[in-house]
Amino acid sequence: MNNFEERYTAWLDGALDENERERFEAGLPDCEAARAEATEWAKLRGLLRETLVPAPMPHADFLNSQVLAAIHREEPKTESAREVVGRGWFSAGRLAWAGAFLLAVAAALSFVLVPRNGGAPTESQFISQVVDARSSDPKLGAYAFAAPGGKGAVLWVTDAGYIPANERIK
């Protein structure tokens, strides 16, 4: 420690060993006044730590969503392309041969057996349902009802807000 400010800081934080502390206090013009100030600082520090505890951050769930969206934008799209390392009987060559054969069979049979969907939704006898909906804002309400046609559903949010026409959405 090169100067008074550094030694004082260490002294205040109790970071000096006994010899260093005695030497420092001996060099103070008014040790009692310095000790009183140290006591004041301890009081203030206690109050600071007690007061400035983390308050819940605003828009907290939005932060999570934004972080995860950023992570997903960055990730390479290899999750569905994990390689299975063959063991035992399945050497690389046999695995490649077996894989090519399976692909050919699957392609041929799926063409015959699996129905093709176009862009339009296919009909189903099952309906969509809103199981629950809630808002933490007492001024907002959310309720659900069946959409015309009987299969779809509507989640009706009251007072979801207003965006001026000249404000960009994206």
């Binding site: 420690m1 004041e40 600071l48 972080v67 995860l68």
Partner: protein
């Protein structure tokens, strides 16, 4: 954190390292308030603090493999948040802003760096919100460098060396800044703790 919470955090961390974003989502929830608070106390700007908080967790995700557990996850995140906040401060210094977006209800006057705060009347009792406001205002009167070391030492309880490593200066500089920052806070808040 108690041992149960630490065990839960360790499990979430291990799962996050395998790429499980739902586990990382929970880690964000556990630490976001503190990360935001560190950023806010350094930056004194709500929007910038939110951006830094977001940036902190994205950086943490990218670096999970490099987190070796020698410090706590909280300390590690604090360091990332502090570095990100200091980057913002440095950008501000090279491109000074003319306006300062403060949290509504907490107007911070740039001139307050040299103007002493109004002492509270001795007869007034101070509630928690008032005390908090006084602290926030007093921290606002410090320079960015001084405020950063105070936040890291007094709120995050980092060692001098950890602070030096985080802000990128020498040990002696950290201790000198603490000296002057503490003196200024004591002057600003003397009436406050004298009432207690």
């Amino acid at each position: 954190m108690d041992s149960g919470e630490l065990a839960n955090e360790a499990d979430l961390l291990a799962r996050s390292r395998t790429g499980e974003t739902t586990a990382f989502d929970q880690l964000i929830t556990l630490h976001r308030d503190r990360v935001y608070m560190v950023a806010y106390h350094i930056l004194r700007n709500h929007e910038e603090a939110l951006d830094v908080a977001q940036d902190t967790f994205v950086r943490a995700w990218r670096s999970l493999a490099r987190f070796d557990g020698t410090s706590s996850l909280r300390s590690w995140l604090t360091r990332i948040a502090t570095n990100a906040s200091i980057d913002v401060v440095r950008r501000r210094q090279s491109h000074p802003q003319t306006e300062f977006d403060a949290v509504p209800g907490m107007a911070i006057d740039a001139a307050s760096r040299t103007t002493p705060s109004q002492p509270a009347k001795p007869s007034e009792s101070l509630d928690r919100a008032e005390i908090r406001t006084r602290f926030e205002q007093a921290l606002g009167t410090l320079s960015d460098d001084h405020r950063a070391v105070i936040v890291l030492k007094e709120i995050e309880d980092l060692s001098y060396q950890e602070i030096a490593d985080t802000v990128g200066c020498s040990l002696g500089t950290v201790m000198s800044r603490l000296f002057y920052a503490r003196k200024k806070l004591q002057d600003q808040l003397r009436d406050l703790y004298e009432q207690l």
